[in-house]
């Protein structure tokens, strides 16, 4: 009887180890994805994401924080999913910031050309 329960317990432990081992094979890709999304959030921030895409930036930062928490809790699947979301949101935030700046430059140039036209008209009177 004792041998049976020991065997059972041993099998359970072994299964548990397998389970944990199976989950921890996510650890490396999750670590990588969290690092990538951290960089993506930084890049978006530098590009002015907070100013031009505040919603996406806030979401990305939250997701990144949650991913870090999940990593600490060894929930690597969850961390990876969150990291991927954070990365996508950060890239969207950055591209919105880039668009806003490009459109502002185009607008400024249009104004410049109008001023130039007026100057020319005035000079030629």
């Amino acid at each position: 009887m004792k041998t049976n329960s020991n065997q059972y317990g041993l099998t359970l432990c072994f299964a548990a180890v397998l389970l944990v081992a199976g989950c921890s094979s996510m650890k490396t890709p999750a670590t990588a994805d969290v690092a990538v999304s951290h960089a993506a959030v930084d890049d978006a921030s530098t590009a002015g994401g907070a100013e031009y895409a505040p919603l996406e930036m806030r979401t990305a930062r939250d997701e990144l924080a949650q991913a870090n928490t999940a990593m600490a809790n060894k929930d690597y699947k969850k961390a990876d999913d969150l990291a991927k979301k954070a990365q996508a949101d950060a890239k969207l935030a950055q591209s919105k910031a880039d668009t806003a700046k490009a459109q502002a430059s185009a607008s400024a140039l249009q104004s410049d050309i109008q001023v130039l036209q007026e100057q020319i008209n005035h000079a030629n009177q």
Binding site: A88, D98, T99, A102, L109, I113, L116
Partner: protein, 289 residues
């Protein structure tokens, strides 16, 4: 008996379940994402300006659709739909950026052309001004040369008339020998002198003359006054006949006043019998005695 019924029921259920599993699962997020995707598909600018981002959005969309076809869980479908939606957003943004950049390139060209045109206009204008200046300078130079020539001519004519420069200006003296024995008419030499004076006045229309007559001290004051006036008048009439306007010529007789010689000898008396012609400045002003 139970066993027999069990198997067909199971089979039927299996068939039903497998029939249901051919219908893909969809979520509201996936539906939204699909309609966002259609928008970028239908916008030719996205493919043109953001082909790489379009490709990435397509790949992500396909992954979400595959998950839907395989009837994976709502959570799993949503994870993929979320990523695809963001990537569709990025494709749109990059398209907008590229359009703004194309606009700037075009505007910059416009501006450069405007500046070039303006500079060309200014250069042409400067050239025209320079050409005009040159013409003006040449004209001024010609005028100056002209003035010089006329001044030289006047000098020559005055010299020919033995004109003298005095504090009253230039004075030409017509001596007694230029008048005939009828003492108040100009003889041919006198007429010739008057002609020279008339020519000078015609060439210098801004100048006027004052003709002053003088006599020696023989005879009465009244006689001499009248004689001096008649002599001055003779010169006036000669000038008028030669085309000089009368408002440019005035006369005065001084009789025996203002002698230039002693009147003691015949020669000195002849010297006093004279007509002096005072030439005005070039504005027509004459200094009175």
């Amino acid at each position: 008996m139970k066993k027999l019924l069990f198997v067909p029921t199971m089979l039927t259920m299996a068939v039903l379940i497998s029939a249901c599993s051919t219908v893909p699962r969809t979520t509201s997020l996936l539906d939204q994402t699909r309609s966002d995707y259609v928008v970028i598909q239908n916008n030719p600018n996205v493919e043109r300006y953001a082909p790489m981002e379009m490709q990435q959005a397509t790949t992500a969309m396909n992954l979400a659709n595959v998950a839907s076809d395989k009837r994976e869980s709502d959570a799993d479908i949503d994870k993929l739909a979320y990523i695809a939606k963001d990537k569709i957003g990025v494709a749109k943004e990059v398209t907008k950026q590229k359009l703004a950049e194309a606009d700037m390139t075009r505007t910059t060209k416009e501006r450069d052309q405007m500046v070039l045109n303006q500079r060309t206009n200014e250069a042409d204008q400067a050239k025209a001004n320079a050409a005009q200046s040159q013409l003006a300078t040449k004209a001024a130079q010609a005028d100056a040369a002209d003035s010089q020539a006329r001044a030289a001519k006047l000098e020559a004519e005055l010299a020919d008339l033995s004109a003298k420069k005095t504090d009253r200006g230039i004075i030409i003296t017509l001596s007694d020998v230029l008048f005939g024995t009828d003492q108040s008419r100009l003889n041919p030499n006198g007429m010739a002198t008057a002609q020279k004076l008339a020519d000078l006045l015609n060439q210098n229309p801004t100048r006027n003359v004052l003709i002053e007559g003088f006599t020696d001290n023989t005879g009465t004051a009244a006689y001499n006054q009248e004689l001096s006036e008649r002599r001055a008048g003779a010169v006036l009439h000669a000038l008028q006949d030669m085309g000089v306007a009368s408002n440019r010529v005035s006369t005065r007789g001084y009789g025996k006043e203002y002698p230039v010689a002693s009147n003691a000898t015949a020669d000195s008396r002849q010297l006093n019998r004279r007509v002096e012609i005072v030439l005005s400045d070039d504005t027509g002003k004459i200094v009175q005695r």
